[in-house]
Amino acid sequence: MNARTLFIPLTLFVVIAFLIGPFLIIVAASFSAGETLAFPPQGFSLRWIAKVFTVESFRASFGMSLFLAIGGTAAALIMGIPASYALSRYKLPGAEVIRTVVSAPIIVPGIIVGLALLRYIVVPFGVGISLALFLAHTALVLPYAVRVVSASLDNLRSDIEEAAVLLGSSRLGAFFRVVLPNIRGGILSAFILGFVTSFNQVPVSLFLSGPGVRTLPIDMIAYMEIVFDPSVAALSSLLAFLSIGIVFAAERFLGFSRYV
């Protein structure tokens, strides 16, 4: 075997190792029996996995993250679906500008978004931390919602709405009767994508955490600064498997990859 034929599989191996490696290390570390976060793990035990469920602050921040991911994504969809509909069905003046503005949170680094929200919204207007987090996560997820829902609207012919109207439906009724059922897959995909994005979000949340109000990733960083035990690794593994499970289920039942 010459160097050339070896090069491709070797490169592939290095890339995959780089992508999957850290994840495997974390998973291995979560089953450690030792007292500190270390690799290779010392022994095998489930004690750190069990401990995750006993840490009070993890429970609270998990609740917060879950609320933000579900509530923020739902809010983004409630705004995003009509926005996508308008962008795809009407020739709006400045549609491209609107599209760009809506996509801005993807382009602008999260650190800047978080700082800007803190400095110009939260502090001057005295917005509560929970509300600020909710608004920030909604804004973060909105681009994904608009993008994914727009894609499925663009694939849906618009004359079925006219057909529904001529059969006696109102315009709004036609939207609920023939548009929504046909973009259901896109909406669910957008929800899952938004949920995962929000749940794993760090930089924006970093600026908007306050006493007693933290998202789970922020809480994990804070925890690690004080206690350096494998429970953070255990929690990370659990979250990773949760995400993988959701995406797999979505692909299996919805054909997730068609939409994103």
Binding site: D159, I160, E162, A163, V165, L166, L167, G168, V178, N182
Partner: protein
Amino acid sequence: MSDQSYLSLEKLTLAYGDTVAVADLDLDIRRGELIALLGPSGCGKTTTMRAIAGLLPVKSGRVRLDGADITHVSPNKRAVGLVFQSYALFPHLSVYENVAFGLRLKGMRGADLDARVQQGITSVGLSNFANRRPAELSGGQQQRVALARSMVMEPKVLLLDEPLSNLDARLRLEMRTELQRVQKETGVTMIFVTHDQAEALALADRIVVMKRGAIEQIGSPQDIYNRPQSSFVADFVGFENVFALEGGKLKANGHLYDLQGDVPSVAGLAWRPRMVALGEGPFRGTVRGTSFAGDRREYLLDTPLGPIKAEDDASAPVHELGTELAFDLPARKAAPLASFA
């Protein structure tokens, strides 16, 4: 309401933004008539159809249906059905639910609903397909679902957008027969839009030829085919040699030519290729192209009048490319044109 004007368009003007698509259109349609709106793309036929359905707001003028002014009645309350060119079936619903859609909105439920839907599906020969999704049907079957979906609503007028254009030759004949049967059985007033003169001639009771947002000619298929009134209609129905007249002489390329026989005092004359007499006559031309068309042979001649399209029997001797030929444009065979554009 007279029977002459079950559906009437009065001085109808339609526009997209500032672009006027149809101007001052007047049209009266009798109850139970099968009308073809015929014309090239951009002539306003589809626009007119959409306005009758209420999908396009009317800029000025009126639409009357069955004695009522429906100009500003919203499309969901007009009792006008439309079979879309793309069929526009609801992809998430079965054939049965597609057909039931409008009836459910009317509040029909239970046995009444089921009977009507079954009857609608059966009438288009799809009773074995009731539970299929549109994506599982052929184009022809989808169109029949679309037809049934509109017809179960018992519309006062059924509009059809290019109903035969997406079908292959065999299905065309089938669908044409189907439409005639539906029209005969239900007596529904039908208007269909087409750019294909053969379709219009075969199916319609009356043909409305449109050009640039206005009606060019209205008449029976025989009228339109044999007696076009304008150079546009003549050209559209296959009179491929169309000339203006000036003082009883044929005008071509800025010159005037004498014609043999009595020349009527009209704006122009038009000849089908088979009306051109080859081999004798006052005109001369060179064979520029020829093609065999089964029962006949087609010729393209280069002449001082411009290009002339002619036909000969397939059994007649062939005129080779480059041959110079005498020909005649006999005035008595020509279609007289009242207007020449």
